[in-house]
Assembly symmetry: none
């Protein structure tokens, strides 16, 4: 526990962290508004007017964050100090328990041609039902000295978790990343990975035997070998119990990594709101995640992203009726629809609390937030600021 964490003190206060994935944007035309600036957001604007605003940098200037590091920052962690592999995020996302020492890896069902090259890295995007059936088949594979779990995620995606002594995530991906090439044979990246690579090669042989009669999913591609990093929990660091209310499994995964509880099976903002109110008495920090702002950005759909922001704005009064002491509204990174991808642009945020110092921002948007109380700060500072407003830090020093 570092010096700031040692200042933690109990309080009855509650914090709502509302994340619109990929919130930050760019103008569609020169001089025009961003998605957030274009959206009609009366409730967010009202909240911003009573809040401290700014822009945050999730990872580092110039660097586009992945989802896991973007969220780690919002949870108060330095993402560079806790690199999170794809396999771990996938396993935790579906609620599969991962122990220290386990190795998790993403598995794609794929299609291999008779010449051995991969003709479809997603096996025609097979439905989740078939993925579940094929995963159950691969889960039967037995390998000497390790235990194995293969679990479906969604569509053509699954996750493999290896447990046993002396495993390492120092193994290269087998996914060739493009069609027309064969899958790679699993190779160790360092000497520490050689035994694991051998196990993985045996798994791939057994898997493709088991899939021999399966069409189009007759091959497996593995990427993102990863072990659990040792991350101190939010409860250890700040003395808070946190609950994640996210529709998508990956966000529940990264939440569990920092010791949050996460509720499965929430279908939409309505269900998330209902769960928020239902669970209100049992937590200190409530993380509500909205995925579709990012999805629309990735699709290059400016108007669609505007509409998603407006949906969240419309849901805000219901969320706020839980009566949190502190509210953070932000994104985990920018996903400008003109770029169709995550980007390095700073992300607008607001922090509202009874004891905050409101700035002159009256409209929640990128350019307004640049003139807000906080300017541009690292993303990992948002939660400590909120904890301060929530009365959860003692004074530092005499």
């Amino acid at each position: 526990m570092n010096q700031l964490e040692a200042l933690q003190r109990p309080a009855d206060s509650k914090i709502l962290l509302l994340v619109m994935d990929g919130l930050g944007g760019l103008p569609r035309e020169s001089g025009g508004p961003t998605e957030l600036e274009a959206a009609s957001t009366p409730h967010l604007d009202e909240l911003a007017a009573s809040a401290e605003c700014g822009l945050h940098i999730p990872v580092a200037p110039g660097v586009a964050p992945g989802s896991a590091p973007g969220h780690l920052a919002l949870f108060g962690y330095d993402p560079l100090a806790y690199p999170i592999g794809r396999g771990i995020v996938a396993a935790l996302g579906i609620g599969h328990p991962v122990q220290p020492g386990d190795v998790a890896v993403r598995l794609n069902f794929a299609t291999r041609d008779s010449d051995g090259t991969i003709s479809d890295r997603r096996a025609g995007r097979i439905p989740t039902e078939l993925c579940t059936e094929l995963s159950a088949k691969l889960d039967q594979i037995e390998l000497p000295g390790v235990s194995l779990a293969v679990r479906p995620v969604r569509d053509y995606r699954a996750v493999v978790v290896l447990s046993g002594d002396g495993l390492s995530d120092s193994v290269a991906d087998t996914d060739p990343q493009q069609t027309g090439r064969p899958a790679a044979v699993a190779e160790a990246l360092t000497a520490a990975g050689s035994r694991t690579a051998e196990v993985v090669r045996a798994f791939v042989v057994a898997a493709e035997q088991a899939l021999a009669d399966s069409t189009p999913a007759n091959a497996v591609l593995l990427r993102g070998f990863a072990q659990l990093p040792a991350i101190p929990s939010l409860e250890e660091r700040f003395g808070i119990r946190a609950l994640a209310l996210a529709v998508y499994p990956d966000y529940r995964g990264v939440s569990r990594l920092v010791g949050m509880d996460a509720i499965d099976g929430l279908a939409d903002l309505g269900a998330q709101n209902a769960a928020l109110h239902r669970e209100w008495d049992g937590g200190d920090l409530f993380f509500v995640h909205h995925k579709y702002t990012d999805s629309k950005g990735e699709d290059g759909d400016f108007d669609g992203k505007v509409a998603e922001i407006e949906r969240v704005d419309a849901a805000l009064p219901d969320l706020l009726s839980s009566n949190p002491d502190v509210v953070i509204v932000t994104g985990d990174h920018s996903t400008p629809s003109v770029l169709r991808s995550h980007s390095a642009h700073p992300v607008p945020f607001l922090i509202a609390a009874a004891g905050c110092r409101p700035d002159r921002v009256t409209q929640f948007g990128e350019r307004e937030c640049a003139g807000g109380a906080w300017g541009v700060i690292p993303g990992r500072q948002l939660l400590p600021i909120a904890l301060g407003h929530a009365g959860r830090f003692g004074r530092f020093g005499a």
Copy 2:
């Protein structure tokens, strides 16, 4: 290579880094404009309107930077992590090769009175021709166990480079810093420097014998003993080839320190612009340095500094006709003409790129930039931001 540098990825993009030395300023009269605000800069203003603006701190808040650390920050390095001695900057500035282990030191030709005190620390500012002749004389000195190079720089200034085993830069300056006092005898600052101090004392004795009949340059003053720090190159860190286009040798020196190529013999902005266009296909980052904004600031010449800024503004269209993907315009530190020296004031900058997020700044000036997209940030973050816009970082994390 750190985690961010590991994200480097190739791209065809090109970055122009235009540095007006000592750009930041102060108002001449209370409430008035700074030099940059007073200057008529239509081209810079137009660029600022489409750019992300802010102020940067080259070294640390409250600290006035020297030229070398100011530039290291602009090249993406933490100047506190790579202290650069004056001797190294001088040697690299004239293109003299310095090897790891060598010790370089600045030499001033000076005038010593018959009573042994220094009456002129610059020997009446002897011309470069005489400096060259005297340097050649001192270059003949032979010392046991070390090889020696003495090279002229300009006017009364030269540089000495010692090569050999077991040398150290832990030696105190011999320059008394004021007239009417004798030069100091070279003393080791730590035990590691004792052998080098002995060599330097022998050199000074031999040099003053060689100069015995020379008037007014009959003495030498040494300052800034320095060895080459181990600095990873821009190519190693970010995968970019960089070219320096600077009139003054010291700036080529600090550029070479980070692995830039540097073109000698450029006389003015016109020659720099011609070289930029000529070399355009061979580089990724082009550093164009304008010295005279700083010189006028050091002279206390407010209007002269305004005129230099306007000269650069007038040259901007030609520079931009190279069609860079990203443009940074800034200074390496502030040199307010009212202070006649480098100062700690944050330095205005703009970063323009197709994918940038323009703020509300429409005039390039200190107070406008304070309300820009980035607020006040460390100078070493500018290049990573530009590299991000240039598509030269992959995404961090899954």
